[in-house]
Amino acid sequence: MDILSLFIIVPIITILVLVFTKNLKQARVVSMLGSVVQLVMAINLVFAYFNERVVNDNIMVFTKDVVWFEHFNIHYNIGVDGISVALLLLTAIVVLAGIFISWKMYDLPKEFFMSLIVLSVGVYGFFISIDLFTMFVFFEIAVIPMYLLIGIWGSGPKEYSAMKLTLMLMGASAILLVGILGIYFNSNADGGALTFNILEIAQVNIPYEAQKLFFPLTFIGFAVIGALFPFHTWSPDGHASAPTAVSMLHAGVLMKLGGYGVFRVAMYLLPLGAIDWSWVFIILSVIGVVYGAFSAIRQTDLKYINAYSSVSHLGLVLFALLMLNKTAWNGAILQSLSHGFMTALFFALIGMIYERTHTRDISKLGGLLKVIPFISVIYVIAGLASLGLPGFSGFVAEMNIFVGAFQQKDTFMRVATIFSISVIVITAVYILRVVGIMLMGPVKNEAFLKLKKVTWYERFGILLLLIPIVGIGVAPLWLSDMILESLDPFIKGLL
């Protein structure tokens, strides 16, 4: 069995075993074991990738190609480059952390863990696909369990949120499908057969008119899940209603599909379209960056703050992708990773705080540093990471984005760049506002004095997410070089 297919097979086996579990205890242990195996595989993949790179300079390594649907030339075609390796690692870590955080999921535990792992199958599959159609199928597999996870295990107006989220993402999928089919039907422009294979399509000169038509469709189709302004509104409501682990997975991993898809499909296959349309999406993404940050200042619900902060941070990812150079792209991928870890950590902490205090309203919280010091200190650290403090992953990512963006020298790009750099100040405002109101200050509520201490599984979940944040922040060279090398084929399409 090749080492990439295992990323799909192991979770499927986990799900099959979960069918036979009887209670929460069994279900969580099975899910945890499955995810630990997954994480070990992901770490192993990083080392294997480095070894393989030495001897193999193909764009994708560890490839496997099985014909799936011959008539339309659809293949189960998988492979990875540095970008997907990094994102697989992110997924494995966030899923495992999510399972630790859901250690006490008493409602329908079996079904909950099953849905969670189905979601992860979609995500893993998406990141390793080379075939557009397979990729799209995995994309849908990842999105659909979301409806159940929010609709059943959520809180507040959960049906509304779940419906809204699903409808908006489905709408985007419909647009995306048109874009993908458009690419497919133009993949014979140089006289070959129609194909869904991304690597083959990249060699084809898709006609300019077609690129111009299908780029925005593909871009928007993917970018909706990456919280592109003004299609981001599913995200705050969705996060607010979702249970903790789902928020973590959703913001940490699922939203990354957007940026990845934009990059791997829209930018890579339709470079002329990208050059043509970039100004529109630069404007939208810069609005998203600044607007998300300003909205976050005004929110009082912790989850809303984090959701808008995600809009801002992921706006930077889209912005960086549109800067069309390697440094900014490297920053975009790093920002995806960094945001994945950070936001998952935030949602995990928010979940812990909510579980103890039964509120997410910051005006009702106060002085938490005194009563739950561990969680609060980690919250401060996560906040500092989020505002781009050196030593944490966010800094590394943002600096790549800004330096990359600065390589574009016309005035429009400069203005856009400076606007996006300004978030380093606005982010500091909303992060420190929360820290000041919620964590510092006198203890507001007598009942808080008796809050439960942090448990071992919560600690595990937190540390799993914190280690990569600090790791990337302190020693970014291996990761950023790994990604940087993989960007060469992408830049070629633009030259």
Partner: protein, 639 residues
Amino acid sequence: MNITYIILIPIIPFVIFLFLGVFYKRIKPAVSGYVGVFGLLASAILSFYAAYQYFFVHGKVDGVYQTFLKKSVWMNFTDTLHIDMGILIDPISVMMLVVVSVVSLMVHIYSRGYMKGDEGYTKFFAFLGLFTFSMYGLVLATNLFQIYIFWELVGVSSYLLIGYYYTKTSAIAAAKKAFIVTRFADFGFLIGIMIIGYYTGTFDFETLNNPEGSAIMNWAATSFMGLSVITWALIFIFIGGAGKSAMFPLHIWLPDAMEGPTPVSALIHAATMVVAGVFLVARLFPMFYFVEDGFVLKIVAYVGAFSALFAAIIAITQTDIKRVLAFSTMSQLGYMMLALGVSGYEGHEGVGYMASMFHLFTHAMFKALLFLGAGSVIHAVHSNYLKDMGGLRRYMPITNITFLIAALAIAGVPPLAGFWSKDEILVAAYEHNKLIYYVGLFVAGLTAFYMFRLYFSIFWRKDTSYEKKPKESPLSMTFPLLVLAVLSVVSGFIPFSEFVTADKAGFEAHLNYPLAVIATTVGIIGIILAWIFYKKENNLSDKYARDFGPLYKWACDKFYFDEIYMFVTKKILFKRVSAPIAKFDKQVVDGTMNGIGNKTVLISQKIKGIQSGKVQDYAFAFVVGIVVIALVFIYLWTN
């Protein structure tokens, strides 16, 4: 020269930080105090050894101090642009090592007494370790990005330490304000770095500062709005420096930062971190000097001079002793900036640069001493306000004497440290810009006045009857006072012009007697006025305060800058930008999306009649459909 061991100097405090931070709960407070002190002692010894090796043994080749470098790549941006981490050894970095080590060590020792019994004792030492590490990293930085990284880290250490008493609302607000204001300045700094990186292709100080290098030679290559882009970059970088060094109008965070524990104010907000802005300008001095013929240096000089004057006026009116010292710090930082601003480059021309660094050095000693002395007083009377003090000379002899020495030093009375460095600054200003010279001279008088107002009000003036008799502080606190007092006396005799100069070559500095006499006279007049006003209890000061009326009140309220900033941030950004955006998002953007959803539901309700559920209807539709399709097919077939 072997410089590898110098890496240990920052590493030691970092290890202390990690050790105390991770084992926070398991360490006894006494142990953490010792860990901090002995760790810093090791760093200080290494720093002194490095300074000795550099200045006296290996540093000088053919009469010029050399630069030693050791670095490795930390992250790659492009093939040419990358961030390095490393250490750069040249006169100013070695000098800063000594300053940071001395003050930090003294503050560590002092804190063992001052923070005794505080529940966050270990945390406090951990944060001090973090700060010291970051500050060492900042002064040793080899490139702009490295300095930016440590710049942010000192900023966050400052945030954590200002907010040390985290249950106090005012401390939380002050910490937040300090971080955000300096972050705003760093926004400028970062843009400056980006511009430099893009147009010169490097972040390295070595390459940037080389007077024959391409960065300086080709400064005029590209211009933007009438100025070279490099000039713009330097302006932006100076904004960053001005934020950290509390220059007008980015000074508003510094007085509030006094909410932190007093040893922190001494270390961070008087002696080390706040001079980072001055250090930054000095670090890039060749660029500032050569690009656009020193255009940006003129800005530096005027901003510095104005800040010095502005802060000195406010300092006269403040009644919280730490705030007086904070404004005094701002004023002295302005002094250092103006000295850099009026400096030339080669030989004696560069006296301003030398004087600035000299003043940075001596100021670190006597200002740290003033703060620690103030801390000793606060420790004894449990108040920051002048009204609660008076006559303390009887109870606290050591604090009294050391404070007096520091006050004389800052007032520029010979032969104390401040006299020498301030004299050089005034010489530099006199030679280059008369207006700035007169401002500097006037500020020198004001400094002497407000400092002795402070001194007399604390230690003389009235015999306050204390509920609990104030006691002299313990040895752990008085020992650093004594050490710093000695340094405040002797550090003025260091022949700085031999060691630290803009072109690194060294020159002979002579006392300019006429200027020295004038400056000293002005200082002494200030002291005498303060003596008349504040030595004994009288109503002279109130009377004059009334005579000055509105001016006094404006100064007392810090010229309302806090209010202006509050208006802009709270009323405009928060109420007029942030709130409407949040509302817009909820109602317009989200509303549109919901609207689309609702319209879809409406339409489907309108047309759902088609799906009536009656088999007859379906059969009818089915037949009609078949007929239509058949007709179409037949039509197509026949054509």
